[in-house]
Amino acid sequence: MQSVDSAAEQAEFDRKIAEEQKIEPTDWMPDDYRKNLIRQMSQHAHSEVIGMQPEGNWITRAPTLRRKAVLLAKVQDEAGHGLYLYSATETLGISRSELIDALQTGKAKYASIFNYPTLSWADVGAIGWLVDGAAIVNQISLQRTSYGPYSRAMIRICKEESFHQRQGYEIMYALAKGTPEQKQMAQDAMNRFWWPSLMMFGPHDSESAHSGRSMKWKIKRQSNDDLRQKFIDQTVPQIEVLGLEMPDPEIKWNEERGHYDSGEINWEEFYQVINGSGPCNHQRIKHHKAAHDNGEWVREAVRAYRAKQNQKAAESAA
């Protein structure tokens, strides 16, 4: 049975949600709301960080100095996005080390698309265009999420995302208008990243384990299928401009719906990859652990510096 207090708190929380008010860190919130946010926000943060690996793979092999500088700047932005999101998640009362631990032990997930390899330079273009493009559709919607710190992080991130998709498309455009071999590279990269990009929006609404409650709490503002449709509708004309073949033969304008129809996603592949059997799952976590362990000396130096400063302050106070 609920106590009178918690019933009143719940009612107050429900009122704020109903009135489109944001929930702020010091407000009372239901345990499940907090848990749900920690799950979604940390998954988002991990995706920003793990997502640096497939692109980082091409920094040293970018075809020109300009492309290299652009890619470096983009990957650097993603590290920053990870930081904004980890900090926002920490306002819910969980520590950074708990979050990192959950990632490294597989308790927390990240976007399954980053478990695919980047086989050619064209993949860097396809990722910027399609993967960042899909992420932007999702993130624009999340600017209106009910949790204040998450919403503010999304607004900041969306501003910085603006160039990510455009640089990707620019790479694709250059290749698609280049030699037949280059055009084939672009086609191949798009074909491989198309389906995993659609999977980024998650299972169908009817199958999604967390969707109902997340929508009720206004953590999510639009359903997986609605966001996915939005992405397809905006991307098909971009494929036409590139002059590439559609990655899905079933893509067709549906006059009646006012949307593009498209083929069914291979959900078996989706669940396999998300549950650890994708081409690069093992490598991604292994690399994350190695990078984290290699950084231990930095964290140690920071702690030593803090201890020394504290000691100095204590001595001068004495």
Binding site: Q21, I23, A73, G148, R152, Q167, Y173
Partner: protein
């Protein structure tokens, strides 16, 4: 006791849920709790805010505006970090 011996507090007000706290001014107070009350009395008398932060001014570490040039590099030599740098065909330029 003269005002000068009281600590200075900076006051930040959140005007509506979902927005950042914004600096609105400062005041003198004998404790953080009192600073909060004075801020309430002084700065949000016309429903200007839903939440107040007070921070003792001496606890704020600030950059110096005169140093901005050396301290903050806007990296104007890297125009490719902005969306406008990329020239795309008109029909997809809303990306």
């Amino acid at each position: 006791m003269s005002q000068e011996h009281l600590a200075v507090y900076e006051v930040f007000v959140r005007s509506a849920r979902g927005l950042d706290h914004k600096h609105v001014g400062s005041l003198h107070a004998e404790s953080p709790e009192h600073a909060l009350m004075y801020a309430r009395d002084c700065y949000i008398r016309r429903s200007e805010g839903v939440s107040i932060w007070v921070v003792e001014s001496k606890n704020i570490t600030a950059s110096q505006e005169e140093d901005t040039e050396n301290f903050v590099d806007p990296m104007d030599d890297k125009p490719y970090r902005h969306a406008t740098h990329y020239v795309l065909p008109d029909s997809v330029n809303n990306m």
